[in-house]
């Protein structure tokens, strides 16, 4: 038990993203308001982005920008040590993921504006009630 606990403390960044993901997923499933669900969706997506960023992190490493590269023409002049730079690949993937999340957000907001035009409410149970009324 103690070992398991230490394990968790060692990797606190990993479990932080789990907490955030749970918050986001909970909001998406349980909340009744469409905009709240969208906020939950974004929290969920950022949690996954946090996970990827944590993958890329290296202890005692610097930003993924090669230092002193200005004006260097032959690569031999630069001695690059891989351990000195943070892994750039997860960052690249997550840039794409952020873009995807904002695009989804735009479409989803447009849809919720359309839903509001139709039903004059954003609460899911009220919308369901309207649908039931109109189909009777």
């Amino acid at each position: 038990m103690h070992e398991f606990f230490m394990e968790i403390v060692d990797k606190y960044n990993y479990w932080l993203y789990i907490i955030l993901m749970m918050i986001g997923l909970y909001a998406m499933i349980v909340k009744n308001n469409l905009i709240k669900k969208l906020v939950g969706m974004n929290i969920f997506q950022t949690a996954i982005i946090l996970f990827y960023i944590s993958i890329g992190y290296k202890e005692d490493a610097t930003l993924p920008i090669i230092v002193n590269a200005h004006g260097v023409h032959s690569p031999e002049e630069l001695a690059i040590n891989t351990a000195e730079y943070i892994n750039p690949l997860p960052h690249v993937l997550m840039l794409t993921a952020i873009v995807v999340s904002v695009a989804t957000l735009g479409v989803a907001l447009a849809l919720s504006v359309k839903v509001y035009q139709q039903y004059k409410t954003l609460e899911e149970d009220e919308i369901r009630m309207r649908i039931r009324e109109s189909s009777l």
């Binding site: 009744n32 906020v39 610097t62 997860p90 840039l95 504006v113 509001y116």
Partner: protein, 81 residues
Amino acid sequence: MNWLIDLFILTLVIVCAIAAISVRDLLSTAILFGAYSFMMCLLWAIMGAVDVAFTEASVGAGVSTVFFVAAVFRTTRRTKD
């Protein structure tokens, strides 16, 4: 010292996330979501992901929040939960 800042921001992120989904006013939700994104951006900057943090600062804290505010403006602030 570094981990203190880290811990502070981590707490703020979680607090903002919970607040954003539990406050009973959609405009506040939008603004709290902006705060959440900004805290997240700081967290990533600490982890060395400057490009991602930059994007999140402009997209998450900036444009997304504005989209939310615009949508709330066109719909309603009312929410039951």
